[in-house]
């Protein structure tokens, strides 16, 4: 149950959370609800329900499933073609001899990426997101949950979630991962952090991929770093060429460090920066 209370303007209503603006200014200025018309309450039903609540509840279940099994889960996001699958191949080649890895592979229509990852001894669960109108552009928590049911969680230490290639939608959906990482390609251009700030804020790590192409491009790496720092000053970066293998060991070290944190019981961070209480 929420709590009823009265505003200065005489309106009365009920909800569970506090009014931040009430505390700050003593007014009933709209902060999380429309307070304009409660006198016609017979026709107006107050809802105050966050639209991502159901997704976030499922994400919490995923997080618990990972933690209960001591698994570090990383949500890997990027634009299409930035090199997520190539990086995953290189990662599996280095880690699967010693680390038990599961992969959740999101793709709109095909199993091409899952086929590229076969043969390394990792458990792969494909999520085909093509069921909706023209396919989903992201993985959400229920999709990941159904994919997890096909992974031997009790036998795994690391789950890499390869999200759908897209710089917008995946950033909006918490899937229950321990950390978010982004594969950014220098061919995407220096301005991308300013154009897709939600994505760049949603991750702890930005892999700067395809640096082997730098001699052939008019690309200003310092300008990219300035733009990234402007939207996410806390983001770590690794310069990489997944093709030549340059920087892949540093990425694997980052994963291993996060696995150690899980084993040591560090409480999981959300994989999204926008986890405000008003969501």
């Amino acid at each position: 149950m929420g709590r009823f209370h009265r505003h200065d303007d005489g309106t009365v209503h009920e909800h569970d959370d506090e009014h931040p603006s009430d505390r700050a200014t003593g007014t009933s200025e709209s902060e999380h609800g429309d307070h304009s018309a409660y006198e016609t309450a017979r026709e107006r039903v107050q809802v105050l329900e966050r639209i991502f609540d159901e997704n976030d509840r499922t994400a919490a279940l995923n997080r618990s499933a990972f933690l209960d099994n001591g698994i570090c889960a990383v949500n890997l996001m990027s634009s299409p073609g930035a090199g997520k699958t190539t990086l995953l191949r290189e990662t599996l080649a280095r880690l699967t001899p010693t680390v038990r890895v599961g992969v959740v592979e999101g793709d709109i229509e095909t199993a091409i990426d899952a086929d590229r990852l076969a043969g390394f001894g990792a458990s792969i669960s494909l999520v085909n997101t093509g069921a909706g109108f023209g396919g989903e552009c992201h993985l959400d928590a229920p999709m990941v949950r159904s994919a997890l049911a096909r992974l031997p969680l009790a036998d795994l230490e690391l789950v890499l979630i390869e999200n759908v290639g897209n710089l917008v939608c995946p950033a909006e959906f918490d899937v229950g991962a321990f950390a978010g990482a982004m594969v950014y390609s220098v061919t995407d251009g220096e301005d991308k952090p300013l154009k897709y700030p939600v994505m760049f804020r949603a991750v702890e790590l930005v892999v700067i991929n395809k640096i082997d192409l730098l001699p052939h491009l008019d690309y200003d790496l310092a300008a990219f770093r300035t733009n990234l720092a402007a939207v996410n000053p806390a983001a770590a970066t690794i310069e990489m060429s997944a093709r030549t293998g340059d920087g892949v060991d540093a990425w694997c070290d980052w994963l291993i460090a996060h696995m150690a944190e899980i084993r040591q019981g560090r409480p999981p961070a959300r994989d999204q920066a926008l986890d405000g209480s008003s969501r």
Binding site: P20, H32, D34, V45, V47, R50, I51
Partner: protein
Amino acid sequence: MHELSICGSIADIVRRHAADRQVETIHVQVGQLRQIVPDTLVYCWSLVSAETGLSGSVLAVESVRARITCHACGSTTEIDEFPVLRCGTCGGADVAVVAGDEFMITSLELAEV
């Protein structure tokens, strides 16, 4: 785009609150830091609600401006359109979002019974 699947979530919430009454307007708050395009959301709602019990209902989208507070100096800044979240007083980047990431259904307007 993700607006389409989001409209499915909206429909579930609306049906639960409206019971079987006819819904005229759904009031939705969208913070400016959300990558939800209001026009796209309204268009997708018309697709998702068509030929269902929610057909003809209208999404009324209220945009909420982003505000941050600075951990260094404590002041509050209202963010304009530029995506950089930086304190307007001291320029600090260690800030907390206090408004602008909302995405919720605030209320429904139901037809007279």
